[in-house]
């Protein structure tokens, strides 16, 4: 329900659409590319997912904030979305072991948000018109001022964000005594990806986005993991080079989301900007190798060119999206390198695809024999 002050806020889209709603979270102005997430649980995990950097997020679910926020339910150390749009927020929550309410959390993270907006109509608009930049403001109410602010928001197309949000210094996770060592390239890695590998008995070292192969090799990893992250993979030639260098080591390789797109690019398969992306916890994916299907967590606005994959002599398709037939997973022919477009670590979302971490660890173990 409405927060008590009822400060108005405005939302302007690039195509001129303006909504008036009620402010919550921080006051001020924020901009980014608008996108929507259809998940009905796990808002805090979504907000802290680094892949959302630069995005203003619509939550399709009728409510956010009902169960407050909890220190452990995060995917990074801060809120990563640029702004938030919802229908209803709950200023009073119910969860005995929560630490705070959503409002305070957003204020502390300096996130500008707007509610009491017809989010459903807005989602339909984005669905038909495509992703575009937008701005939320509690400061400007007139169109001209809003438009001026909007003009300053950079285009997602061609935008490189990973190096900004990647860890500045390498860090480790898991037991140094573990038999398996995995090097993780951090382009915006989610905490639970690392956790999934640690849970499977690996010692992890996470490297900054621009770490070169020589530095990586010093860790003597048994396998390499390329993380998810925000931005346009086409603007990341440095990362494509790293991936190529890593592939040359012939060690087992696993990529998720942006990591998947980078594996494709390293194999001369182009990526493209999608009309409005896939974001949610209910996307159906079929593993065409096993014939089994899985419900997946997704968060991507770029995709891998399906024609180029089909024509490639180096990679083959392993997973497809059952809704639109898009490429959800590839592997390199004859070697232990694979990647998926979706998020097998989920958080939030179903655990259906966690077997991919087992596959990766299995590949490493095979290699170690």
């Amino acid at each position: 329900m409405a927060s008590t002050q009822n400060t108005p806020a405005w939302l302007l889209l690039k195509d001129g659409t303006i909504f008036k709603g009620i402010s919550f979270g921080a006051k001020g102005t924020t901009g980014g590319e608008i996108c929507f997430n259809t998940g009905m649980t796990g808002y805090q995990e979504v907000f802290t997912d680094p892949s959302y950097t630069g995005q203003v997020l619509i939550m399709n679910n009728a409510y956010v904030g009902n169960y407050g926020v909890k220190n452990e339910d995060v995917e990074s150390d801060s809120v990563k979305i640029s702004g938030l749009i919802c229908k209803n927020i709950s200023d009073r929550f119910s969860r005995m072991n929560a630490n705070d309410n959503l409002e305070n959390y957003l204020v502390n993270n300096n996130i500008v948000a707007i509610h009491d907006v017809d989010t459903r109509a807005l989602v339909q608009h984005i669905r038909s018109k495509g992703a575009m930049n937008c701005i939320i403001s509690t400061e400007f109410s007139d169109e001209a001022a809003l438009k001026e602010a909007l003009a300053k928001v950079p285009d997602m197309d061609g935008l490189e964000l990973s190096s900004e949000i990647s860890t500045k210094e390498p860090y480790t996770a898991g037991s140094p005594d573990a038999a398996i060592r995995i090097a993780v390239m951090d382009f915006g890695v989610k905490k639970h990806i690392i956790q999934c590998m640690v849970d499977r008995g690996a010692y992890i070292k996470v490297f900054p986005a621009k770490t070169g192969i020589d530095e990586l090799k010093k860790f003597e990893a048994h396998g390499y993991f390329i993380s998810n992250g925000p931005g346009d993979p086409a603007s990341m030639d440095y990362a494509v080079k790293t991936v190529k260098d890593i592939l040359a080591t012939n060690k087992p390789f696993f990529g998720i989301c942006l990591g998947h797109q980078l594996l494709a690019r390293a194999n001369d398969i182009p990526t493209f900007k999608m009309h409005h992306g896939h974001r949610g916890l209910n996307h159906p994916v079929k593993n065409i190798i096993t014939g089994k299907s899985e419900i997946t967590t997704q968060n991507h606005g770029f995709g891998v060119d399906p024609e180029a994959v089909k024509n490639s002599d180096k990679v083959e398709v392993t997973h497809v999206n059952l809704n639109d037939g898009s490429i959800e997973g590839i592997r390199m022919k004859g070697r232990a390198a694979f990647s998926v477009q979706y998020h097998p670590e989920s958080t939030p979302g179903p655990f259906d695809s966690r077997y991919l971490f087992d596959d990766f660890i299995g590949n490493i173990k095979k290699e170690m024999l």
């Binding site: 679910n61 909890k70 459903r120 209910n282 059952l322």
Partner: protein, 947 residues
Amino acid sequence: MPRDLSIKSVLIIGSGPIIIGQACEFDYSGSQAARSLREEGIKVILINSNPATIMTDPIMADKVYLLPLTVESLEQILEENQIDAVLPTMGGQTALNLAKEGEELGIWEKHNVRLIGVDIKAIDKAEDRELFRKWMIQLGVPVAEARTANSLLEGKEFAQQIGLPIVIRPSFTLGGSGGGIVYHKEELDGALDRGLTASPMHEVLVERAMMGWKEFELELLRDMNDNVVIICTVENFDPMGIHTGDSITVAPAMTLSDTAYQLMRNTAIMMMRDLGNFAGGCNVQFALNPETEEIIAIEINPRVSRSSALASKATGYPIAKIAAKLSIGYNLDELKNQITQTTSAYFEPALDYVIVKMPRWNFDKFKGADDTLGLQMKSVGEVMAIGRTFPEALQKACQSLENNATGLSYISQQRLRPEEIIDTLKRPTWDRIFRIKEAIAAGVSIKTIRELTQIDRWFLYQIQDLVNFEVKIKAVKHIEKLTYELLFEAKKLGFSDDQIAELLKDSTGEEVYEYRKTMGIRRVYKMVDTCSAEFEAKTPYFYSTFEHNPIAGTVKSNESNLTDKKKIIVLGSGPNRIGQGIEFDYCCTHGLLAIKDCGFEAIMVNCNPETVSTDFDIADKLYFEPVYWEHLWEIIEHEQPDGVIVQLGGQTALKLARRLSEKGVKIIGTSFDDMDIAEDRGRFSDMLKELGIPYPNYGTAYTTDEAIEVAKEVGYPVLVRPSYVLGGQRMRIVINDEELERGVVSLLKHLPGNKILIDHFLDRCQEAEVDAICDGEDVHIMGMMEHIEPAGIHSGDSHALLPVFNLGPLIVDEMADIAKKIALKLNIKGLINIQYAIKDGKVFVIEANPRASRTTPFIAKAYNIPYLNVATKVMMGEAKLKDFTFEHNLEGFAVKEPVFSFNKFPNVNKELGPEMKSTGEAIRFIKNLRDPWFRQLYKERSMHLSK
């Protein structure tokens, strides 16, 4: 795997007569399954003894057997047909138990029939409490501490070990029959005894009561490739301890974190995969400890259920339809999402609205019943409401209940003091949600209410918001001072115009409506699309809400686009209750199909999730809205229909005719004024007098003194009843002034200001009824039914034969003649039902109902004539009776058998009388009157006064 081509014919088992705990949700599932299989070219054979169901209509299956649900009937069907497979998961526990019995007797094997949709060997694991527990422990899923007892002594011993409070759950019973919570030592013996008696195997589970734990339900689908999806997660507003059928439930889950939810999802999937080898639907229930977020498994049902019917309506995902396809071999990834028609059926629906289901009880019918809610289901129906906020959905649900609530506003006659309210909250009853609001308004803290009710504080906060908001509106006092912002907020929170008017105290609901209309505060219609707008949906399933339009741009809030076609709205009958139930769903479904036949756009309005007529592909357009004036009127203003049909939705729909007519909306068929003659006792009697038709002496009164005066004139015994009620509510027969006075006083207490009707009661007369169609020129008698029990028992509670069996040809002609006279005089266009009393060879008319009646579907089934289709076309003026030929193909007689749910109310007097108490009915065909079953029934006819 694509569909199994070796399956060419399937037998679907229905759930039989409606009883508490097993109602028309299974007609909905069965109908969907039948259509789903038939569209695959599979021959569908159906067995069900319930004549009021749409599933047993010839339009739904290739062959229908209206037979008792027994192994003997199954054998007969198997002998007469080549059947490849049987689908027993659509007919509730009744069908599963019957399939299991058939398995034990080896009839499936004998006839080479496969069981599909279920692993029959796994049923016990799900149904037997002790096996379930052992299985869970083996799987590593936590369960409540419990022991199985087969005797009173064992039960007491275990109760002592576990410690009170405990839950007693009898094995193999339906809707929690015989179960209960024991808080105090002195209740233990009685509760154990009840439980052991209720269980067919004299077995109960003595279980630790998980008081204060929250309750959740997941609806799952699984295919032969072991793919599993969760279609819906439902959160119970009422915590553990109240049967989910008696709980207010909410979807999606409102207070569930992703970590807690994924734990439930993983556990549920593991349980379903481990429950034998089958493809189909399944329901799993969990309790969650709000302090630690640990969960325990409560139960698993390997079939479609009341909850899956609700989940289908709540998400748009047709669970029964897809489950049927999975049972014949399809995998989920091979099927399309039925709503978008472009994306995959293998996905998990996302909602961008809030669903509230509220049960509807009928305690007024069961005097002396314990109305405390608990483990045993007691409600007779339910409503579902959809809104974009929880308060909106909650208040819409209240508006749907049709019990005079204008929202969450209903406050009983007696105003309670805070201490008294606190006392009432301790004991969960049907009106607890209203009491909670009263308590908050009286200043009781959320903390205290939470302690007393264990209801999650998030829900309590929402109710508190409503209370606070009411204070704001009250303070405004004058309608013209209501600001746009305040009024919009009120509508967003689901306040009805009537409710706002009640708070302002200076205006009517109508005035509030007109006022907000000038401000541009109007309903918009949003679609239920399974995917929260991610994909374009093709199914016109709508609900209303209030949304702000953008300040600039072309974004459109309203999704209900208008067509150029001529449109007709069919009004449904709201929640099921005793006296008005599934039969009207049957009528509405046929009405919609007939409207479509005539090339009109058929629009359905109803709020009952258990109905076939609100299925996503029956009407051209569905508004899932309360059958409440305000909501209906805005639909009419939006759609501008060519007319509204009120004849098919029982008394609920009929009651709206006056206001529709005053507003100049065309009532399809019989005009409002003519219907009013039939409904208004005085006008009706004047008409009968004019036509020279006898009727029992009668009079009306507003006070006890007047009543005694009237009774003297008409002569005792007299029948006393209120006007404008359903199913003979509060009707009684009295023989002297003293009894009369008592009756009138009690009646006026409950219905102050009501006009009381007093009829001379024709003692020892015979009763009969006629259903007819009239097109204004001709009258066709659809059927004539004679009651077996003597007069004094409500027609809904009596056995009846079609055609009459004991009345002479002169009487029959007389009844037909009277029916024709009345129908023509009332200018009936469509349906009419007339009730007669026959005494000493003289035919009296008791009442006439200018609408579809409880017996209309029965007659259509027995004679196998699509009467509702004909009646609808006649109503619309699209056809005349002379366009049809009717042939009554019935060898022998069809007997209507009432079915009761008294076992849910152990302390209730089972005596029958003028007030209807049966919850369902069965049909039975007899070749002649020498039939042994019938002869026994006939012999005992007078004993049925006490069931």
